[in-house]
């Protein structure tokens, strides 16, 4: 299949944008989160399909990158991180695997279904891990003093 990176980028951008509108992201940050979602997807595509690394690694690195962008945007726009992170990881979300899993279960192909179930949870876990590791790092290396800090909840 001969599809250029450009069309992938555009499609991931549109997908993130669409879900951003559905989730009612503030208008002035809509384009910023679309960009981070598209970059995250391109990185995932490059790692997992061009370099043929594991899906887990590709998704994890991409989610980490999206979370990194989101942290930066959050400081720039002075808004909570999830405003950028939730639309940004939409293209990475394992919708296809979840759909295939459910369909295989209902059609009675339990082996295939279990394979897709593992894939779904691995990918979701990789996304969650990427986001968590990133916010953990940002909290450890934040420039506020350790002792002064209030009780915080690590996502």
């Amino acid at each position: 299949m001969d599809l250029s990176y450009f069309s992938y980028f555009a499609v991931a951008l549109i997908a993130t944008f669409g879900f951003g509108v559905l989730y009612n992201v503030p208008t002035r940050t809509l384009f910023a989160s679309s960009i981070s979602g598209a970059i995250g997807w391109i990185v995932y595509f490059f790692l997992s399909f061009q370099l043929e690394l594991d899906l887990f690694i590709g998704v994890g690195v991409a989610a980490f990158l999206v979370a990194f962008f989101s942290q930066w945007y959050a400081r720039h726009f002075r808004m909570p991180v999830i405003v950028f992170a939730i639309p940004g990881i939409i293209p990475l979300v394992p919708g296809g695997s979840a759909y295939n899993m459910m369909r295989a279960f209902i059609e009675g192909q339990s082996d295939t279904a279990l394979m897709f179930a593992t894939e779904t949870f691995l990918i979701s876990g990789a996304i969650a891990l990427g986001l968590s590791v990133n916010s953990g790092l940002f909290q450890v290396f934040s420039n506020r003093a350790f002792e002064k800090r209030e009780k915080r909840y690590l996502p």
């Binding site: 879900f19 295939n100 979701s124 209030e150």
Partner: protein, 252 residues
């Protein structure tokens, strides 16, 4: 610093938590924000417990009496702008504790903020997004137009049925059934190549990928109850979509 009655402060905290929770904030963020607001009014022994369906807050006032308030949550949607606005409000309160009546007014304003986009704009946007997904999942350019049509119509139908019945399982099943039907019809008419790719793209607006990811994040953060609850909801949704699609695919 001026002292306010503890029940008033509790009302403010609970209402802020409610606005956040019903607009799709994660449980840890709701806990964090409610904790901070209570802290900014100089309350002590603050304990917040949040699960997707309830919010409990217990504090001790300076008179030494304990106060508890419980909120039961029913409907949830995603509106990140309101989450962001409540977050700003809690930052404002951390600098200077405003009178509870004033904060209530601000929260009411946040509640009444209209969405940025009309229903048709957001339906169109979601249809565009669904049209893009077949390409991301390895399909071809030919599958994009049918996914656009099926995804948009499916999402509109999902909203209509969900408003009528209020049972999201049923709404998801009906919507995915119609998505499957439209996808099969369109490929039968020669529009689009791969039925699977069209269906996967179109059901992306219903698929609980987001919920599965969020539940794993909750579990990692130690919020075991909400993680498991969200995961159960996600698996039910996946089941509804699977059943709806399977009904169509067994008849072709």
């Amino acid at each position: 610093m001026h002292k306010y009655p503890v029940p008033d402060i509790l009302d403010v905290c609970i209402e802020a938590g409610q606005v956040m929770l019903e607009n799709g904030a994660e449980t840890y963020r709701v806990e964090d924000t409610v904790y901070r607001i209570a802290k900014s009014y100089n309350l002590i022994y603050i304990n917040v417990f949040v699960v997707p369906t309830a919010l409990i807050l217990t504090v001790q006032g300076e008179d030494g009496l304990d106060h508890t308030e419980l909120l039961r949550m029913t409907d949830r949607q995603t509106n990140l702008e309101k989450v962001s606005m409540v977050n700003d409000l809690s930052r404002l309160l951390a600098q200077r504790a405003l009178p509870p009546a004033k904060v209530k007014q601000k929260l009411a304003n946040i509640r009444n903020t209209p969405r940025n986009f009309s229903e048709w704009q957001s339906n169109f946007a979601i249809a565009l997004a669904c049209g893009g997904f077949p390409l991301l999942f390895g399909g071809g350019y030919y599958d994009m137009l049918p996914a656009f049509i099926a995804g948009g119509l499916g999402h509109i139908l999902y909203q209509k049925v969900n408003n009528l019945t209020n049972v999201s399982f049923f709404a998801e099943m009906v919507a995915s059934f119609f998505i499957g039907l439209i996808a099969v019809l369109l490929t039968g008419l020669g529009l689009g190549e791969d039925v699977n790719m069209i269906i996967i793209g179109s059901v992306m607006s219903l698929v609980p990928g987001m919920a599965i990811t969020n539940s794993l994040r909750d579990l990692m953060a130690g919020h075991l109850l909400s993680g498991v609850a969200v995961l159960a909801k996600a698996l039910l949704t996946a089941g509804a979509i699977g059943i709806g699609i399977a009904i169509v695919l067994t008849f072709i």
